[in-house]
Symmetry: D2
Subunit: 346 residues, 4 copies
């Protein structure tokens, strides 16, 4: 399957090319585009790719993409994605969209959180939320896959067994996320400078972060009880990685080992989700650069609350790795092809 | 007031000497002791103190301390503090204890969380919890001050106005702490190595961290409603700093600005506690190296929950700075003497 | 002495305000200006200054400065400084200039390295290079002080005793500098982002860095042998700090202890320069946030070469601390006033 | 080829297992040993390997190794390696040694730098220095390969074309290395703690670092002019990565582009060595986690000196990646098998 990456100058585009350099075959990046950097060899922007790719960034043109690729990965901001998706689908291309534009099924919810109208609401029902751990079969044949937000993936995978098994009050859910700075993309702003962020932790977008409705939508999809999530993101001084700590009130007494057993059952066939043993703690570095998710948990019996920690690499399982997983499914390949490498420690 | 620092080779001891190098007068470190490093000049261990102190680490001896100082600061682990405190008090010395041994009023609670008997429970009622924002007057005349835990200080100061004003359900309290690695002290263990902790976030001691009962004790002290706190500490890749995120369910609808007003009222006369405006976010680096506390908050009206973030430097306001503040009070000096410098940015 | 800071929104301006918050008296920042941020309270840009200053950034106007201050600190880029300095001097103000515009005595050298003409070459001879360790007496009465570059200060102080004592071939000098990212100022560029610089070391401006002619000028000033320096700066992943490693070929066999003795003699009356003992190594963190300089060295007898390492905080001794030292001298105060605090470890 | 890793609990052992998890086939880790951790599953020590290996650390026993593997990789300290190597060879096993014990051909040089006698000097001539860029053919059939030191690899590859082409004075060579903390191994010492090393740069072992004689030996091997190297290592705050800056006096005027051409010629068939263009600067992060080497250089015509920067990942090309490269050669496989992935940016 030949792939075009639109908006390939950023972190997710270059990460996708990095990951496909590992790929054993069946997926090939045949074209990369960028509005601002057209004409620049990708390896000049990303020196880690020197020797791995001769791709040169080109302008975005549907006609050229149609000729040269079957599937387009959109690595552009929300709102821009809405401009491109309809014409790409119309041109007969399949699309995987990194942006938030097609993640929410409800256009009103979209407009409420993103403060902008949705211009192709008819596609919201067709779009498949690109979380293979939930929608593997639908992804295989999808025309339009909406890749999940990185924070959302960690919150959803971390909380899913609690909600599916109805052992917690789903209005009590709290997701406290610690995220690496690369989550902001290569945005040249003072607040993302090294000197600003070294030795610095800060919360941001409290109560208004746009990954909240995704998390609620996907957890609501597995229960008929009402779901409400407080999602609080924090920047921590590291480039990559997310650790989400999830708090939920247990409806009745459960022990750590019993809850762990529910997680093991839920994820036993999932190639990338690893449930740690009691007393072990998931750490972000164990999955650095990899597509793996590690989950650990403990029940605080004193207050009858379960506390889950879920880690992943925001640029891999939280972004480009999930795209490769989805592309593998869409191309009829082994879902894990090109993604079976461990994280980088130390 | 002449001061002896017992166990001065670690972070808190050296930080105390660093801070007193700023001090305008009235407090003087006259003796430093260390079991393992006796004979070593303090500035050989801590090259930042080169040119600031000629102190040489000496063995611990009560008789010598009694001759040379009026007040002893204990920077030794819990259990060891219990061995020293009774004999130091008996020798007529006043004591500020960095350890947890005299923070809890109830010996049974101590034994339950620290898994060791308390050998001087009679002193627990006399000891004053060294948080000037609560016990300023008692500290002035105290014989024994128990300096709070660094995480506890941030959780207590962050949650106090919520509980005092009875606007939240005090059984719903969650404190999710992000702490710098220096919180562990200079312990030579693989898990605290640079290569282990770079780009790595991990939760630890979930549901069993020993700062929990301190936080509950001090919040319980301001209300007759039952208080329960889930306290979850996380290591984040930075040397110094703590950010605690507090979640609490509001009993009735409140708006961000209204809750902020309660905080401003509570802390308006506190020299080191700064309440930020709506839409501002407290960040650890703004208080790096200083005795300041910054607090920001937001109400998530959608879920009727208040989310507070409270930052401080774990080695200053969380340890040695609080000791200086307490020593100033005990010596009858201006409480802020030697502590009026800003944090280090960038 | 009332001081105006022009271009106060950047790192050096805010650092100056931070340092003067320590100052015991005699220096007062009475006005701060910024072209881009006029109207903004300084503490809104720099939250560490919250509670320390009510200063609001104002537009630059000579007439207003003349009314309200006696001395102006210029924290603007080179070329811009040239526009301001003549009119400020003409208005009867004294000036300390952070930029490179008046550091070089020779206008041709300036033009060769900065690729721009010098518009007030007549001031180059009057300007005093603001290194108190060399020009203390001239600084006291100077109208115009050119504050040294941060890298230059570390290279000059590190090499000075070698050249003054003529024990090395001064054409063999190499200065290999490792600098924190704050050296670049708060420039919002991708190459200075946290995600770019974490775990990343890179050399830059090899053979063309503009601190080279300063270093050569100041070392040439103490010898009649020709001086040539290879200066190679590197960015290392830290916010603050410089370590410069200096290599020089010894003219004849010397031993480490003998060379150390020359350094101790040279710096014995310098309040901020500390020479370490044989076998000790200067480290940047020992001087973090302070005005101190630590120097260590070793002779490699096998190759008859001396290797010196010199550390300082680029924003303090390398910038705002040196300014305070110079302002103290200009105001007839104790040179060390407000600067006698140790570095921040750990 | 079945491989046994002796001393597999450290960084290099786990990194080797991580890399072989990428390997397409032909190399298999069949046994891992550890004196201190026997009985522990490797993935319990290294959570990134969870799901990738069931290997359990076993005691070291030659007889068992002989039965289960053909080749042993020794990841033990120098001196210990000397105890094992003779008996392993005698047992008919091939050996790749991570330690320094068999890198130097001359036992006296070894004893002078390592301050310990060599107990099997007869093997020093047989041992092949494991740098494929020099000894590819001899490695294929070697019984004993001495894997190079990480700093040495970067200095040798960075300087080789200069010395081979006789364009510099080989007594003027200086190698100034900036190394990540993982270079020290998982040694639980205060000086390697996160809180010690954050924001901290320091030189160490000036004039006495043990990689010096390796560098001299290998550069001496390509010229009959006498070679002398000043090697100065620095710790910089990052886990992985080495940047070596090499200074050398040119014998006659050369231009940057001409010297680059010599490098391109030298390395044109080397799969892992990339020579950057004029004006580009090698950065450590571009090769993070990969087996690649990036080299950039500039001539400082003003002082007739060439300045080269050479980067690699100390745990990959500087250690375990080089071992895989050597094992591929020894097993008759494609030298690049399992090593063809790019570095991790950002």
């Amino acid at each position: 399957m030949r792939i075009g990456v639109v908006g390939a100058s950023g972190y997710t585009g270059s990460e996708l090319v990095r990951l496909l350099a590992h790929h054993p075959g069946g997926l090939e990046v045949a074209m990369v585009t960028s509005r601002s950097q057209a004409g620049t060899p990708l390896a000049d922007l990303w020196p880690n790719l020197r020797g791995y790719t001769d791709l040169v960034l080109e302008p975005y043109e549907v006609a050229v993409l149609r000729e040269r690729v079957e599937t387009v990965v959109l690595a552009v901001p929300h709102k821009v994605a809405q401009e491109y998706v309809p014409e790409l689908l119309e041109a007969g291309l399949r699309v995987v969209d990194f942006s938030a534009d097609y993640r929410l099924h409800n256009a009103q919810t979209y407009e409420q959180w993103y403060h902008t109208p949705h211009t192709s609401p008819h596609l919201l029902q067709e779009a498949v939320y690109g979380l293979p751990e939930r929608y593997r079969e639908r992804i295989r044949t999808a025309r339009l896959v909406a890749n999940p937000g990185c924070n959302a993936t960690s919150a959803i995978l971390g909380a899913l067994p609690l909600v599916e098994n109805r052992i917690v009050d789903p209005t009590s859910l709290i997701a406290d996320t610690k995220t690496g700075i690369s989550g902001a993309g290569p945005r040249a702003e003072v607040r993302y400078l090294y000197a600003t962020r070294e030795a610095n932790v800060v919360a941001y977008n409290i109560a208004v972060h746009r990954h909240t409705p995704e998390i609620e939508q996907e957890l609501q999809a597995v229960t008929d009880e009402p779901v409400r999530v407080s999602f609080t993101p924090h920047l921590v001084p590291m480039s990559r990685g997310i650790l989400t700590t999830i708090y939920a009130d247990l409806k009745s007494p459960w022990r750590t080992e019993e809850v762990l057993e529910l997680y093991r059952l839920r994820y036993k066939d999932e190639p990338f989700v690893h449930v740690l043993g009691a007393g072990q703690y998931a750490e972000t570095k164990a999955v650095l650069g990899s597509n793996n998710v590690h989950i650990s948990l403990a029940v605080d019996e004193r207050v009858q609350r379960v506390i889950v920690t879920c880690v992943l690499d925001n640029l891999v399982k939280g972004a480009a790795g999930a795209v490769v997983q989805n592309l593998n499914l869409m191309a009829g390949l082994d879902e894990t092809a090109g993604l079976r490498f461990p994280g980088l420690m130390p």
